[in-house]
């Protein structure tokens, strides 16, 4: 153990710096040290009101975005439903008109009389 200590002591023994070391270090340093600015804590500290809005602004924006997205989605869905409804209504009326026309054809065929539209030129 004492041998290890002796070796450590020899390895870590203080040695003098080479001549001119201190001057070289001083030359390597910048000419002017940056001066630290000290700001009074009263100026740095924000008011409680501003802090509150800073805290809630992000969640509020997110919530507003969500609400806007939901409303927009609902509006688009309503518009799509309206378009589909009007198209379906048009198909319904078209189908019933066609049904009516064919029932009329059947009726006229059974009756053996010309349809009113065919009587435009009675001659």
């Amino acid at each position: 153990m004492s041998e290890v200590e002796d070796r450590l002591r020899r390895a870590l023994r203080p040695i003098d710096p080479p001549p001119g070391f201190a001057e070289r270090v001083m030359r390597a340093l910048p000419d002017q040290r940056p001066t630290a600015t000290v700001t009074p804590i009263d100026i740095v500290r924000t008011s409680p009101r501003a802090s509150f809005w800073r805290r809630v602004s992000a969640p509020a924006a997110l919530a507003a975005s969500l609400v806007a997205a939901v409303l927009l989605g609902q509006h688009v869905a309503i518009q799509q439903e309206e378009r589909a409804g009007l198209a379906a209504r048009q198909e319904l009326m078209q189908a019933l008109r066609l049904t009516s026309q064919k029932l009329d054809d059947a009726y006229q065929a059974v009756q053996g009389t010309p349809a009113p539209a065919q009587e435009e030129n009675p001659s």
Binding site: E81, E82, A84, G85, L86, A88, R89, E91, L92, M93, Q94, A95, L96, R97, L98, T99, S100, Q101, K102, L103, D104, D105, A106, Y107, Q108, A109, V110, Q111, G112, T113, P114, A115, A117, Q118, E120
Partner: protein, 203 residues
């Protein structure tokens, strides 16, 4: 384990295939899409109003319009409206076998032919069928064919013939001489009408 998963997937697939047939409303005909005919036809109309779409259409009917108001009254009891109409530029551009396939479905029990009119001179054919169940018309089918046009109409639901009758004047639906639902039973349904004297049709 893999075999079990495959079996489950196959079962789900079969269930998916079977569900449309099982969900088909009584009285609903299986109308072909006639996809090939649509390309050849000069004009084609395909209406496929299943219960959901029909309900949507009924909600958008304008009650201030007399025509639509009359439809609104009978709309709620309907379960579907299906129409195929094809018009061609030349005679018999469509295979009659397609129509015969639909006509065969109307030979099923419950269906009665209300009107059958054939003009051999003009080669026109109009047939009106009703599916009667417990004295109530559950479905109406019309098959009308001409050399250059054929129309298949299938209206499914509790068809109130009285309300259909009330459409007279709105769409030009003629009086079908149907007094009430009770008379429109299979036994009371008139036999197919003989071929009437052909009437000139205005094209």
């Amino acid at each position: 384990m893999n075999a079990r998963i495959a079996l489950c997937i196959a079962a789900l697939g079969l269930a998916g295939l079977a569900s449309p047939a099982a969900a088909q409303t009584p009285g609903q005909l299986r109308l072909p899409e006639f996809a090939g005919l649509a390309e050849k036809a000069a004009e084609s109309v395909s209406v496929q109003l299943d219960p959901q779409v029909l309900g949507l259409a009924c909600r958008f009917l304008d009650s201030s319009d007399p025509e639509q108001a009359s439809v609104q009254q009978m709309c709620q009891s309907l379960r579907g409206i299906y129409v195929r109409k094809f018009t061609f530029d030349k005679d018999y551009a469509y295979p009659k076998s397609d129509i015969d396939g639909v006509r065969r479905q109307l030979a099923a029990p419950g269906w009665s032919q209300l009107v059958g009119a054939t003009s051999k001179k003009e080669n026109t054919d109009v047939n009106v069928y009703l599916l009667i169940d417990k004295g109530q018309a559950k479905s109406l089918a019309i098959i009308a064919s001409e050399p250059r046009e054929f129309v298949i109409v299938n209206i499914v639901g509790n068809i109130d013939l009285e309300k259909l009758h009330q459409l007279e004047g709105q769409f030009g639906v003629p009086e079908l001489q149907i007094e009430s639902d009770k008379k429109a039973s299979p036994k009371a349904a008139p036999a197919p009408a003989p071929a009437p004297a052909p009437t000139p049709k205005k094209k």
